[in-house]
Symmetry: C2
Subunit: 242 residues, 2 copies
């Protein structure tokens, strides 16, 4: 897959399109929305199979603006994650939407396990990418080169780690599309000078017993994601020794 | 106003209620939602005058779960901000909802200019509080002691600075209500180990010309907020020398 250059002239409108879906994690979308809805000369559409409300993993309900079939052509494609991503890994309608829109987009931006969905759509082959810390080991099944970083940019594919990493990724995307001064103005507007009260945001810094407990809680989903990743790898013709 | 202690026993359910409203800034709510919807033994309701979709400042549409009249009694009351807060500063229905719910809540948590709304409801009298960097100067009109901090806790009133500060505030609220281990587990789950790509999140760190431009952009709203704050101060019986 060929990505065109990401730079977009200021006078050229940027159509942003984000996939939303049941059981997603809303902050994967709403974090980037806070940043990217502030890009000058842009508009933002939320897209799903229908325009009926979509309920996130924890119960927040969002209204899509357009259906997959009626979405405007997208310049910046955003793919969030969350447990519901797993249900779409072999969904032809969603995967062909992603492939088609990514093919014309100037930039594709995955957040959290949205990267796995992009992988299933064949968008990660040969690219460096990242995802939620509990899912990094699956990236190789989509032909990606896994990176344990907060944000990874390879050509015009930007991937952010778990959930809140979407804010950091979005600021990088903003700089990529409209320049650093715009990104800095947005950062000031949304007062993004984080001060996490605890140092527990990554598995190497969180208390060991908390890491273990969280892994245990998601054991079933993690096993399911592995089985799916293997099936997808076979379909994509990606060979993984494991 | 008397606040009871914030500690809630693990076996006791926590009813979280967040006000939502037209022209709010969605991240003031969705940031804290990502954290607090993960509290064990809790449920989260979005509340507005009706249950019709609410459109945020930048166009994201959220669905309220309950109306002001039908909301369940709230243990943790969340008040987000955004430009639409200004329209509610003299709205009797909203203000009396806030006063009534705050009177029974274990904890009240304002994000961004949600603090001004709490101020108008008389909840800030004699308390230290913070808000968005462009609005800190208004806090005194509500009898509050303004603090330029990311998060301020005074008794059981927690206030966070602009927009994204809601995440930091929410983690503190989580620790307050369910203990630090729970807050740390949530932080790991949402991979909150922020790495802002620029150092432009506060007016003292952002480039001077960007600060000036942003102030200019919000000149009209800032003037309007001042006029409103003065009217509210008179109503609350708060005397400000200015």
């Amino acid at each position: 897959m060929q990505y065109p250059s990401a730079t977009i002239p200021p006078e050229q409108h940027i159509q942003i399109g984000a996939l939303v879906f049941p059981n997603m994690d809303q902050i994967d979308l709403t974090g980037p929305f806070a940043v990217l809805s502030r890009l000058p000369n842009s508009s933002f559409q939320l897209i799903w199979k229908s325009t009926m409300p979509v309920r996130d993993h924890k119960g927040l309900r969002l209204l899509p603006d357009a259906s997959l079939a009626n979405a405007k052509p997208i310049d910046l494609l955003i793919v969030p994650g969350g447990p519901g991503q797993e249900d779409l890994m072999e969904d032809k309608q969603v995967l062909s939407f992603l492939t088609a829109q990514a093919g014309r987009a100037k930039c594709v931006f995955s957040v959290c396990t949205g990267a796995l969905l992009c992988g299933a759509a064949g968008l990660l082959k040969g690219l460096e990418a990242t995802t939620h810390w509990q899912s990094v080991q699956f990236l190789k099944y989509f032909g990606a080169v896994p990176k344990e970083q907060r944000v990874v940019i390879d050509r015009t594919f930007v991937s952010a780690a778990g959930l809140t990493a979407g804010m950091d990724g979005a600021l990088k995307v903003a700089a990529l599309l409209r320049g650093e001064a715009i990104a800095q103005a947005i950062q000031l507007d949304i007062q993004y000078a984080p001060e996490p009260p605890f140092d527990s945001g990554t598995p190497d810094r969180a208390p060991t017993e908390i890491v273990a407990k969280l892994k245990q809680t998601s054991e079933k989903l993690t096993a399911q994601r592995l089985a799916t990743a293997r099936r997808v790898a076979a379909k994509l013709g990606v060979r993984v020794d494991d």
